[in-house]
Structures are given as structure tokens and as C-alpha cells.
């Protein structure tokens, strides 16, 4: 049994991907059939539960598939208490979400696609929390980002859905890049990419030179994914997603990935002042800002989104505090949050589905027409507010307890912030979970809420009550998860009643504050609503800045004008050559004054031709002037003893000039010339470029001229080839193969000409 569970791990993690074809088919059917899909995540949850038992007895398990081992990439999976806690949440909540969606998207043609993306997301998420290899973790991290992009933007006809999806992807994707860099750095510093090996060896990167980079990069990834300030703006915007998506991604799974990362990395890179300080501070600020905004919103889902931001900050802060009590508190809070927040999102979604609005100010008195949903909302709100008997209460007790115990001057401040945030969140809980059902009046739904919509939120909310009353059910799981973060920790004992402690007093104070805030919620909202900080500004500015930079550089560098291109090319090459000249310190110029008159004449011809070509206003003159330059070059060849080259040069120049004149016969004028500043610039560039090349050339004369081949032929023609005519010997003996090649080229060219001639004849006929 034990071996079987281990070996199945990779297949189980990847199973949502394997099932995709089936999911598309089944998801398209009527709701009662599509609901069957919920069975598979439920099976997964049972499996992870069983594996958890085994891990509790025999320690973490690891299983791998040979994948890209030679790349240092192995598709191996590692399951310890921490990752299994997340896996349980992912599969358990996932099952309920799939059930809910089957009804939510009933008779929607997109249902199959939706369920498929949801399954793909689930698989990526499971891969993320169970991946052993750091780089595989990164890969799954990016996959969750990509699938969540598809899910948030599912209603892509709406522009705001598209932009919100893109925003979430950009923010979390940038974090993923940071994580990739961190992963590579860790692998480099520690010599392995495998978490199992690193954790087993107890590697700590604290002393590595790259440590500050690693810590900051990992935290950047975690903060962006878990919507920490100042990156939290994407989460409220992502509320344009269909409700099941918000309930799944934005309460239970994706936003928790950052928390998982921080917890997972704590043994490797954590427990240093830098790490703990950053995590605690960012978490606390996020908690405060999120709680503050949550009571200011009127859209149910935005209320929930900001309270999620707050809760994520709170958990992050606890992970930063890092004591055993704090980590246990973080994990209990995280589990409680997954239950009640998922439930509340589903309640909000059902309300919108049935009544058509999610505006809190328009919803009231719905408890009569939707009793089951009202119960679910109330239960979830109670857990979120931390009413005794609920798991949320247990979590909050641990929160206060660990902050009271935490030393340092910041302890009281953190405690104050935690109490304030909890009170605000409690108020938000009842605003979202109870105010739509309380009171009287308000809209009436068209029909009864179907069971498949009401049951999942009820189950989630009730789970919070059950776990609160009977904490013994989960303390084994939490204990195992804590030891995944802190190494071997003493077993965690959760209980409902701690006696009359200061913590209890704080809890009661919080509840009193919640009552006050909820009673006067409308006034509070009015006061808070105008006080907003625009965190999105940075994002918008960064994107705009990039766009502006792109537009500017396009205009500046890529005008499409060939002249500009040539100018840039010449400037750069000239600059390179000049740099070389200058960096060599301009060694004494060789003697250049020893010039014969005929050489000077050739030089004059070349320079004169070039100047005349540049200045002439008719194409024909320009072509002929260029021809003069060419003849000058030919003359130079002649003067320095290469008559064959000179002859070639002369004939090529003549032929070119003739062809050019024929082509341009009908296009004599050049058109408008450029203005004098441009001409000045161009001529400066030309002189500089020509000057630097000429300067380099002066040194060529000084270098030793290596051997020549002609001597070899003269000496060996008779002894080796038995021929007195050197030219003949070269052609038919020394270079016989070349000659054969030349003949082939000639005949091939003749064939080409033949083909072209035939083409002309065909066109005439």
C-alpha cells in the first residue's frame, strides 16, 4: 500500500491534464452529467489524505519521472506535510468548485472549455505545491499564471475582463521571472535543484554571496502572486472573472501559492533578519490596507477581494514572525480562510446568478427566498469574523497568541494592527455574508436556488464550524505542515478553549468592534470610500513608459529611410575603427611623404571622382564620376604591379557605367537635393569615416607583406608537371579541378541564358 501510494504520485498530480479530453466532452453535457466531474478532485483529496497519513508515519515521500534529467530538470514530486496541506485544499475545494460550475454554466456552450481550463489550472496548482525540482516549480508557477489568465479573461467579450486578466498575468508573470532567476541562483549556490535533497541536507543559503538577491527575488515572486502591497491591485480587478474562478483562484489556491512559496523556502533562505523583516512588514501593511478598503466597497466581490488581500497579508505577516505558534496560526488561518472565503464567493456568485446584482446596497431580505444560501452566508461570515466555535476563531486566537509572544519593539504595533484589521474584516464578513439576507425589501429571485449551487458554499461554511468544534480533526495535519516549515516541531494541539487569557480578551474586544462597525457600516463606508490610494498607478505608468520608450525609439531609429540606415551603419563602423585607432594611442605614422607623381595623379583621380559623384545633380554625371574613381583604382593596380587586376577593373568599370547609363537614360534628374545642414552632416560623416579607414590603411604598408605563390609555380612547372608553358601547366595541371569547375560554370550559365531566352519567346507568343 505504502509503495503504491508513493509511485502513483506523479500520475496523480498530472492526472487533471490527462483527463482534459474527457473533461471537455463531459463538461459540455447537461449539469447532472457534468457534475460527475467533481468526483475526480474528490478522489484526489482522498488520495492526498491517505498520503498524509503515510507521511505522518514514515516521513516525506519523493517520486520522479525521468524527464529532462540531463538538463538538471527532473519531473519529480515531493510530498511532505506542508505540500499535502495545500494539495488537500486544492483538490477538496476544487471538487466543490467543479460541482458548482457544472450548474453555474449549465447549458452554456462554453461549459466544456471552462471545465477544461479549470482542470488544467488544478493540475498546474497541484504541480506547483508538489514539485520537487525548483525549475519544475517555476514551470508550474507560470502555468498557473497562464491558466488563470484564461480563467479571469473567460468572458473575453468584455474589455475590462481582458485588461484585468492581462494585468494579473503581467504582475504574476513578472514574479514568475523573478522566481526563475531565484531558482537558477539557488541551484547554482547549493548544487542541486531538488527541494527534497536541499531540505534533507539542511542547506542554508544565508552565507552565499548571492543570498540577498535570492531572498528578494523569491519574495518578489511570492508578493506578486499573493497580492501583497504594492502589487495587490490586480486582485480586486480580477473580480471580473466568473464567480467560481474567484472562489477557487482568489480565495483557496492561486493567491495562496505565494504563501506556500514563502513557507517552503523558509528552511532554505528564511530565518534571517532581511527575510523575516521584509515578510512581516509587507504582510502587516497589506493586512491593514486590505482591511481598510474592504469595508469601503459596495460590490460584494470587491468587498471579498479586499478582505482576501487583508487575510493574505495577515498570513504573510505570521510567516514572517516565524515562531512555531505563528506558523501554526498562519496555516490554520489559511485553511479556515479557504473554507469561508470560498463559501462567501460562491454565495456572492449565486446571488448574482439568481438576482442579477452584486451591489450590497441593492440586496436585502433574501433570507426568506433563499434560506439555505442564507445559512451558508451566515456560517461563513461567523467563521471569518472569528466567532467562537468556528475555525476562524481558532485561527485568530493563534494569531493574537503568537503576536503577544513575539518579542521586539514591533510586537505591540503588529498586535494593534491585527486587532484593527480583524475588526474591519469581521465587519466585511457580515457585509458580504449576512447583509444581503437581512432586513426586508430588496429584489426577489425568479426561482428556487438549485441544490448544486447552494450545496458547495454550505459545505465549505459548515466545514469551518465542524473543524472549529472538533479541532482534533485537523491538528495532526497542521502539525505535519508546521514541521514542513520549521523542521521537527513539537506536535500542534489546537483547542477551542484556552482559559481566561489576554488573548480571549482581545478576541472579545474584536467582536465588539465588529458589532459596532457592522451596525454603522453605511456611515463607515461613506467616510472611508473617498480615502483611496492608487497603487495601480505604478503599473500603469510602467506600461505607459514602456510604450512611450518603444514609440520614441521607433521614430528615432527606424524611420525606414535607407539613407538613415546607411548613415548609422557608417557611423558605427567608423566609430569602431576610430576607437581602435585611439585606443592604440596612434603609434607614430609611417613615412608617407615618399609619393611618386603618377601615384598622386591616381589618388587625385579617385578623390575627384568621388567628390564629383557626390556633388553632381544628374544621375548620368554621378555614374560617370564614379567610373572615374574606379579607373583611378585600376590605375593604382597597374602602378603597383598587378596588370591583370587592373584590366579586370577597367572592363568592369566600363561595363557598369554603360549599363547604368542605359538604365537611367530616362531618369536623368536626381530630384530635390537635401538641405545644406544635412549635406554638411553627411559630408562630415563621410570625411570622418573615410579618414579613419585611410589612417588604418597607412599602417598596412608598414606591415610585412607575406609570400607570393607565383614563385612556386615558376619553380615547379617543369619538374612536377613536365611543362614549359607555365600558364598552360597552371590551367590544366595545378588547377585542373578549378578549370573543370570553370567550364561547368560557363556551361551552366549558358543554360541559364537559354532558359531566359525561351522565357522571352514564351512571353511574346
Amino acid at each position: 500500500m505504502r509503495i503504491a501510494l508513493n509511485a502513483m504520485l506523479p500520475l496523480i498530480v498530472l492526472s487533471p491534464f490527462f483527463l482534459l479530453p474527457l473533461v471537455v466532452r463531459l463538461g459540455k453535457q447537461r449539469a447532472q452529467w457534468a457534475a460527475l466531474l467533481a468526483l475526480w478532485p474528490a478522489v484526489l483529496a482522498v488520495y492526498f489524505g491517505a498520503l498524509m497519513r503515510q507521511v505522518g508515519q514514515a516521513g516525506p515521500v519523493q517520486a520522479s519521472l525521468g524527464w529532462a534529467a540531463s538538463l538538471g530538470l527532473e519531473l519529480s514530486f515531493y510530498a511532505d506535510g506542508l505540500s499535502l496541506l495545500f494539495a488537500l485544499l486544492i483538490s477538496g475545494v476544487g471538487s466543490l468548485i467543479v460541482l458548482f460550475s457544472s450548474r453555474y454554466f449549465d447549458q452554456d456552450p462554453r461549459a466544456g472549455r471552462f471545465q477544461a481550463i479549470l482542470f488544467a489550472f488544478m493540475g498546474s496548482m497541484l504541480g506547483l505545491v508538489l514539485a520537487d525540482n525548483l525549475l519544475a516549480l517555476v514551470a508550474f508557477w507560470e502555468l498557473t499564471g497562464f491558466t488563470s489568465y484564461l480563467l479571469i479573461g473567460f468572458e473575453h467579450e468584455r474589455a475590462e475582463a481582458r485588461s484585468a486578466a492581462l494585468q494579473a498575468l503581467i504582475v504574476t508573470g513578472a514574479g514568475g521571472m523573478a522566481l526563475l532567476a531565484a531558482g537558477v541562483l539557488i541551484g547554482q549556490a547549493a548544487g542541486s535543484f531538488n527541494l527534497s535533497a536541499l531540505l534533507a541536507r539542511g542547506v542554508r543559503l544565508e552565507d552565499a554571496a548571492s543570498y540577498p538577491f535570492v531572498a528578494v527575488l523569491v519574495l518578489l515572486a511570492a508578493f506578486t502572486k499573493s497580492a501583497q502591497t504594492p502589487f495587490h491591485f490586480w486582485l480586486p480587478n480580477a473580480m471580473t472573472a466568473p464567480t467560481p474562478v474567484s472562489a477557487y483562484l482568489h480565495s483557496a489556491t492561486m493567491v495562496k501559492a505565494g504563501l506556500y512559496l514563502v513557507a517552503r523556502m523558509t528552511p532554505l533562505v528564511g530565518e534571517t533578519p532581511l527575510w523575516n523583516g521584509l515578510v512581516t512588514a509587507v504582510g502587516a501593511i497589506t493586512m491593514a490596507i486590505g482591511a481598510w478598503r474592504s469595508v469601503a466597497e459596495t460590490d460584494l466581490k470587491r468587498v471579498l477581494a479586499y478582505s482576501t488581500v487583508s487575510a493574505l497579508g495577515l498570513i504573510m505577516m505570521l510567516l514572517g514572525v516565524g515562531t512555531e505558534a505563528a506558523v501554526a496560526g498562519a496555516l490554520v488561518y489559511l485553511s479556515a480562510h479557504a473554507g469561508y472565503k470560498g463559501g462567501l464567493f460562491l454565495v456572492a456568485g449565486t446571488l448574482e446568478h439568481e438576482v442579477g446584482t452584486r451591489n450590497v446596497t441593492e440586496l436585502s431580505g433574501l433570507r426568506r427566498s433563499m434560506p439555505v444560501l442564507a445559512v451558508a452566508g451566515l456560517l461563513a461570515a461567523c467563521s471569518m469574523a472569528g466567532i467562537p466555535l468556528f475555525l476562524g476563531f481558532t485561527g485568530k486566537e493563534l494569531l493574537y497568541d503568537s503576536l503577544l509572544g513575539a518579542g521586539g519593539g514591533w510586537g505591540p504595533l503588529l498586535l494593534l494592527a491585527a486587532v484593527g484589521a480583524s475588526a474591519l474584516m469581521g465587519a466585511a464578513a457580515f457585509i458580504a455574508g449576512w447583509s444581503p439576507f437581512a432586513g426586508s425589501g430588496g429584489p426577489a429571485p425568479e426561482h428556487k436556488v438549485p441544490a448544486a449551487l447552494a450545496a458547495p458554499p454550505l459545505i465549505m461554511a459548515a466545514a469551518g464550524l465542524a473543524a472549529g468544534i472538533w479541532p482534533g480533526a485537523i491538528d495532526g495535519v497542521i502539525g505535519l505542515a508546521v514541521s514542513g516549515v520549521l523542521g521537527d516541531a513539537p506536535p500542534v494541539r489546537l483547542s477551542l478553549w484556552h482559559g481566561l487569557t489576554p488573548v480571549l480578551g482581545l478576541s472579545l474586544l474584536t467582536l465588539a468592534l465588529v458589532a459596532v462597525l457592522f451596525r454603522w457600516r453605511i456611515g463607515v463606508r461613506r467616510r472611508i470610500e473617498p480615502l483611496r490610494m492608487d497603487f495601480e498607478r505604478g503599473y500603469t505608468l510602467a506600461l505607459r513608459g514602456l510604450d512611450a520608450l518603444s514609440a520614441w525609439s521607433l521614430r528615432a531609429l527606424q524611420g525606414g529611410s535607407l539613407r538613415a540606415y546607411v548613415l548609422v551603419l557608417i557611423m558605427i563602423v567608423g566609430g569602431l575603427v576610430l576607437t581602435v585607432l585611439i585606443s592604440q594611442g596612434l603609434p607614430g605614422f609611417p613615412d608617407v611623404m615618399d609619393v611618386q607623381p603618377q601615384e598622386a595623379a591616381a589618388a587625385l583621380l579617385i578623390v575627384g571622382g568621388a567628390i564629383s559623384a557626390a556633388r553632381s545633380k544628374s544621375i548620368i554625371t554621378a555614374v560617370l564620376s564614379l567610373g572615374l574613381t574606379g579607373y583611378g583604382v585600376g590605375l593604382t593596380f597597374l602602378l603597383f604591379g598587378a596588370p591583370d587586376l587592373a584590366m579586370t577593373q577597367f572592363s568592369v568599370e566600363t561595363l557598369t557605367a554603360v549599363i547604368f547609363v542605359l538604365v537611367f537614360y530616362h531618369h536623368r534628374s536626381v530630384g530635390p537635393m537635401s538641405t545644406w545642414p544635412i549635406r554638411l552632416r553627411d559630408s562630415l560623416m563621410a570625411v570622418l569615416f573615410g579618414g579613419s579607414i585611410a589612417a588604418v590603411l597607412l599602417f598596412v604598408g608598414a606591415a610585412d607583406t607575406p609570400l607570393r605563390l607565383s614563385g612556386y609555380f615558376a619553380e615547379n612547372a617543369l619538374p612536377l608537371a613536365h611543362g614549359r608553358n607555365i600558364v598552360n601547366v597552371i590551367l590544366v595541371d595545378f588547377r585542373a579541378l578549378d578549370t573543370m569547375g570553370e567550364i561547368t560554370v560557363l556551361s551552366t550559365a549558358a543554360l541559364g541564358v537559354f532558359a531566359v531566352l525561351r522565357l522571352g519567346r514564351d512571353m511574346k507568343s
Binding site: 521571472m177 514602456l546 535607407l562 551603419l569 598596412v700 610585412d704 609570400l707
Partner: protein, 474 residues
């Protein structure tokens, strides 16, 4: 030359023979199908000839060319890529009213140039290969004379390529004047041993780098790229992106890696790599023209490959080889999708032409999606491993700055690929008239399907390719 030499050159000979045969064929019998079939057969024969050549490798032929396993690996890549281009071209030109047969001669001759370039061990063969590759490209880029942009692109490429070839030649002359040798391995070890020394050698090296830089289209020698990619027929753009650049890069990695030990050369390449990654990605951000977008993205990708080149060492050679294969597959697929969507009047260029493509042509949309994801380096595509591997090479060589720029700029890069993706999946808004999209031939389907399959299988099982690279080019 001995018979083993001919055996070693068999792939090159097969390609040359194919080009001559196509010319003979069209001299007597003009037919698009027969010309394309003959070219494809020649390319297949050349690919098959790699194995007999491998039997006599490693071998130096006439002092000008090297034939060893690395050269043969890259030759195989170039031949296969050209084969894809040939098939794409057939479908593409079949829809056009133009003389089509000569195109295949140009294509095969350009491949000859690329093969010579990859195998060259002498500045003369290097230059010969480069020109043999460039000159047919002038014609290929401007192959649609009725299109202004095509002609304009051809002219721009002609002038700039000629200028850069002149630089390269001049640089070679300076180096010869200083050292008296044109033999590349000898030159490389000379430079490595003695440093750049006095004036002529560094000046020559700078000019040669400029010449290479132009062909690779790296910043600041990249200016021609977007105009040429936009103006050239899509299969030709695919050829430039995969074969023309691939040949130069392969040569760089194969021969010139030791020169990087000279600090100033490494500095120049570092600047080029950083500038290319940054400028390529930033310039692509606002592009609404998909072909120009791919042009800028190719600048960035060459920058990434240069990171691998600069990292040096065994891992770097493997990383660059892997990247080159992955990138070739991807860019052939991307331009392939554009080519098959071209009709008698032109190609779909603006982003609006792709709006809702997925809903009109799900399979084609999916293929294009895979290509874009691979360009962005998303997991489960070959592009992910390629990028990862280059990054890992950079990190293990501790070229931190390069690695950092790579990560940052590819984050920017993901953004514009995403914009194309979003367009692919947007619902057609009905306001705009959808351009006419021709049906796909069976050959197109098989080709694009194979490319997508390769992309995914390399993304899931990178070892398939790595094993080959390790045995040959690694």
C-alpha cells in the same frame, strides 16, 4: 582531392547538383510543381548524404572546409529548414501570378552558401559562403516585383548587405596584412595566444564583427531587419530568420568562441547582446504588423543566443545548438502560418487580420498559438527549454548582467506575444471585413502539424534533441 573528400562534401554537392538540375529542368520544361518536387528531392538527398559524410568525418577538405560532426549537425538543420521553406514556397507561389520556378534555384544556391559558411575554416571560404548566401537573397526578397514593399526591401538589403560585405572583406584584408594567414583556426589561436596586438588586427576584427553583426541582424546593425521581414515573401523571411542567421551563429559558436578570451572582443559582443535583447523587445512592443513584430523578436532571440555564446564552454555550445533548433522550428512555424494565410493579393500583416483566427481556423490558430508560446518561452514548448538552458549556461559562467537582462527583457517580450495571442482568440467584431483566407493544401497541413508536433515533443522530451546534440555539436 580524394574520394573521401567528395564523400565528405556529398551534402553540399547534392544541393549544388539540385540547383543546377532545377535550372536545366526549367530551361526545357517550365512547371512549378516539377521544379518544387525536384528541389525537395534534392534537399532530401542532401539530408540523406549526411550519413555517408559522417562516416569520413572529421576531415579537412582542401584547407577551405571542415567536415566534422558539429558541421554536419548544423548542415542537417539548415537543409531541413530549407526543405520546410521550399514546401511553404510551393504553396505560397502557387497562389501568385508570377514566374515561380527560378525561386527554387535561388533558394538552393543560398543554401549552398549557408553550408559553405558553416563548414568554412578559411576567410576565403567564409566570404565565399557569405556572398553565396547573400546574393540569391537579394532576388528572393524582391521576388514579388509587383509589390512595392518587396522591391524596396530587396534594394535596402542589397545596398546594406553589400556595404557590410565590403567591411568584412576589408577587415579580412587588414588581418591578412598583419598576420599573413587566412586560415581561421590558425588565426583564432594566434589571436588567443598573442591578443589583438597592434593596430591592424583589432581594426580588422572590428570590421569583421560588423559584417557578422549585419548578417545576424543584431543591434546596432539591425536596421534592415523589420523592413526586409515585412517586404519579403513570408517563406523568404522564414529562410532569413532560420537559415541565414543560423549559419552565421553556428560558425560563431564553432570557431570563434576562443576569441572571446580577448577582453575587448567579449566586451563588444556583450554590448551587442544586451542592446539586441533590450532594443529588440522594446521595439516590438508597439508593433501592429505581425511580420515586423517577428523581425524585432528575432533580434531579441539572437541576443539570447549570444548570451549562450558569451557564456562559453561545453554547456554553452549545447545550449546555443538547442536554442537554434528550437528557434528555427518556431520561426518556420510562425512564418509558415503567415505564408499559408497569404492569398493572391498579399499576406495577412496587421494584427487586425488575425483577429479571431482561432474561431475561423481552430487548427491553424492552435499551431500559431504554440509558436507564439514557444517564442515567449512558456513551458511545455521547446522555447522554454531553450531559454532555460541558455540562462543556465549564462548563470554557470557567472555572466550575471547578461542573465539579468535576459530575464528582464524576456518578461517584456512575453507581453507582445500575448497581444498577438489575444487577437487570435478575440471574437471577430463583425465591423471589419475579414480578408479572404485560402484553403490549406494537404502539404501545408502536414508541414505545420509536424512543426507543432516537434515543438511540443521537444518541449516535453528535450532529451530527444539533447542526445543528438551531445553526440555531434555538443
Amino acid at each position: 582531392m580524394q574520394s573521401a573528400d567528395f564523400l565528405a562534401l556529398l551534402p553540399l554537392i547534392a544541393v549544388s547538383a539540385a540547383s543546377v538540375s532545377v535550372m536545366v529542368l526549367i530551361a526545357f520544361h517550365r512547371g512549378h510543381r516539377s521544379a518544387a518536387l525536384l528541389s525537395a528531392a534534392g534537399l532530401a538527398a542532401a539530408f540523406a548524404a549526411l550519413w555517408p559524410a559522417a562516416r569520413v568525418a572529421p576531415r579537412t577538405v582542401t584547407g577551405l572546409l571542415t567536415v566534422d560532426s558539429t558541421v554536419l549537425f548544423y548542415s542537417g538543420l539548415l537543409i531541413a529548414a530549407t526543405f520546410v521553406v521550399a514546401v511553404l514556397s510551393y504553396g505560397y507561389f502557387e497562389k501568385r501570378e508570377t514566374r515561380r520556378e527560378e525561386f527554387y534555384i535561388l533558394l538552393l544556391v543560398a543554401l549552398c552558401g549557408a553550408l559553405v559558411l558553416v563548414g568554412s575554416r578559411h576567410l576565403v571560404s567564409l566570404f565565399l559562403g557569405l556572398e553565396l548566401l547573400s546574393v540569391p537573397l537579394y532576388g528572393m526578397i524582391a521576388y514579388l516585383p509587383e509589390q512595392r514593399r518587396s522591391l524596396e526591401a530587396g534594394l535596402k538589403y542589397l545596398i546594406l548587405a553589400a556595404a557590410s560585405a565590403a567591411f568584412l572583406l576589408f577587415g579580412a584584408g587588414l588581418i591578412y596584412a598583419q598576420t599573413g594567414t587566412l586560415d581561421l583556426p590558425g588565426l583564432v589561436s594566434l589571436i588567443r595566444a598573442a591578443g589583438p596586438g597592434s593596430l591592424l588586427l583589432p581594426a580588422g576584427l572590428a570590421l569583421i564583427i560588423a559584417g557578422f553583426g549585419f548578417k545576424l541582424a543584431v543591434v546596432p546593425f539591425h536596421l534592415w531587419t523589420p523592413d526586409v521581414y515585412q517586404g519579403a515573401p513570408a517563406p523568404v523571411a522564414a529562410f532569413i530568420a532560420s537559415v541565414s542567421k543560423g549559419a552565421i551563429l553556428a560558425l560563431l559558436v564553432r570557431l570563434f568562441a576562443p576569441v572571446l578570451e580577448v577582453a575587448s572582443v567579449a566586451l563588444i559582443f556583450t554590448i551587442i547582446a544586451i542592446a539586441s535583447m533590450t532594443a529588440g523587445n522594446i521595439l516590438a512592443l508597439l508593433q501592429d504588423n505581425v511580420k515586423r513584430l517577428l523581425a524585432y523578436s528575432s533580434i531579441a532571440h539572437i541576443g539570447y543566443m549570444l548570451v549562450g555564446f558569451l557564456a562559453g564552454g561545453q554547456m554553452a555550445a549545447t545550449a546555443v545548438a538547442y536554442y537554434l533548433v528550437a528557434y528555427s522550428i518556431t520561426v518556420l512555424g510562425a512564418f509558415g502560418a503567415i505564408a499559408v494565410l497569404a492569398n493572391g493579393h498579399g499576406e495577412p500583416e496587421s494584427l487586425a487580420d488575425y483577429r479571431g483566427l482561432f474561431w475561423r481556423r481552430p487548427a491553424l490558430g492552435a499551431v500559431f498559438t504554440f509558436m507564439l508560446l514557444s517564442l515567449a518561452g512558456v513551458p511545455v514548448t521547446a522555447g522554454f527549454f531553450a531559454k532555460y538552458y541558455v540562462l543556465a549556461a549564462g548563470v554557470s559562467a557567472t555572466v550575471w548582467l547578461l542573465a539579468l537582462v535576459l530575464v528582464l527583457t524576456s518578461a517584456v517580450g512575453a507581453f507582445y506575444y500575448l497581444r498577438v495571442l489575444v487577437a487570435l482568440y478575440a471574437r471577430p467584431d463583425g465591423r471589419r471585413e475579414v480578408r479572404e483566407e485560402p484553403p490549406l493544401s494537404r502539404a501545408d497541413w502536414v508541414l505545420l502539424g509536424t512543426l507543432a508536433g516537434l515543438l511540443l515533443s521537444l518541449g516535453v522530451f528535450p532529451n530527444l534533441l539533447l542526445a543528438v546534440i551531445r553526440r555531434t555539436a555538443g
